[in-house]
Amino acid sequence: MYEIWLAMNIVYEIALDLWPALLPLLLVWLAVLLINRQRLGKVAPSTLLAVVAMVGLVAVLALPSLTKSSLADMGYWVDWAFLLAMAVGFGVAAAALLWPVLAMRPSR
């Protein structure tokens, strides 16, 4: 329980540092989401899953070097599990961000 509370606080403190970038992005996303709310259902789940997979793969490859480490420094399964969890998190966030944008595509 304490670890969950600690993790929430860590995420909150990181967001405090990122809010100048996050806030405009969130507002634009909300606007696009509202404009396209009728068309969100037209985006195929497979498309969103593909976004999750692609962004997740890029995150797995890029996150270690972006944090001054490397894939060679993955010491044991906990490292891989944590890296994959972060990558999936980035993938899901990217899919959520792109969802209303993808809904803007003209129907075939």
Binding site: Y12, I14, K68, G75, Y76
Partner: protein
Amino acid sequence: MEHSSPSSPELSRRQWLLGSAGAALLASAAPSAQAAKLKTQAHIVIVGSGLGGLAVANRLIAMLDGAKITLIDSKREHNYQPGYTLVATGVWPVSKVRDRNADFVPSGVNWVQEMAAEFDPANNAVVTATGQRIPYDYLVVAMGTHQDWSLIEGMDVGAIGQKGLTSVYPSPQAAQATWTSMDAFRKKGGNAVLTLPATPLKCAGAPLKMTFMLRDRLAQSGTLDKSKVTFYSALGNVFGVKTVNDNVLSRWRDLGIAVETTQKLQAIDIGAQSARFVTPEGVTSDVPYDFIHVVPPMRAPDAIKNSDLAWKEGPFAAGGWLEVDKASLQHRRYKNVFGIGDINGTPRGKTAATVKKSAPIVAQHLVDVIAGREPGQKFDGYTSCPLIVKEGSAMLIEFDYEGRLTPSLPMIEPLQASYLAWLMKYRLLKPAYMATLKGRV
């Protein structure tokens, strides 16, 4: 000089955000916010505005209704000291360890911007450097350590960054100057000397991290074969927890780092780049160096050391550390006095992680005493050290008073070099520190 903080005419970014919905949500969910506030008119004085002092101040504000809280410290800059090793090894810019104390002192706390010079616990008073006498009902001592550079003959803290002289300990500026020297040294290599004194230290892992990182920087620069790295310990080991000590020595053997034990740094000739070491038997040896990392002997600040609050006998008496019960962190003789952080005369545990775990206990015990209850929780001495072994990899070592390894999560292997431990040090622990500072975790 005193004022009620925060005094800045403009709301800072953090203050603005702390008033935002997100902060309100977090604050309302915080464990300390779930209990009813205790009504009291007690005057609580907190001496020291580091992590311990501010964490307790923020917690007491949330737990007490009507208390007068006074914070005594002249420091206006708040330094994230756990980040100094990252600055000193070229991983972080120095700006990441520098903040303003005014951004963290809670509203309603009276901040006396002076240093405490004397303690008069028999009469429940603190005397500041200008002679101002401040009475209290309850006292929290959070003064940290005093770095006793005077015990190293010839040492000049102002010369750090010159002639291969480095130290991560004194300040952000010293950490930055240390990286400048390390960066220059790694390009050509040479004889590197790293030291460890025999006194209790804050962040006792820092000298080891500096050693690992120096070796890694030499390897990255291709100058390792032109270099010799030797760690001189004034003790018989390099770390107080045996399993960790043995693991580090094994790694150093593999990495070609030499270790000399029971060699205390006695003197340094900065101009000649020579260090003098002495054994317990009094045998001295002069060691030339191209790069030296000096760790100062540490003790309690004079105001505590010279007061009746200090240990009078036992292993913590020589350093003048605060005489607290190691389980309750309450003073053993003055029951209205508590200690938090590095100042405490307790085994091990002079780290931010210790404060994270003990600040809630100290605040709760103080509230218990005000309410007429016996302090009921027991602090196990938890501390933690993300021990960097190279850029990109670290070990997440957590242990208690007894030196038992106590990982927070069962799947963590404390002696396994890992990316997760590195990421925590590099990216996650400062946010955790900030949450501790604000009294939320």
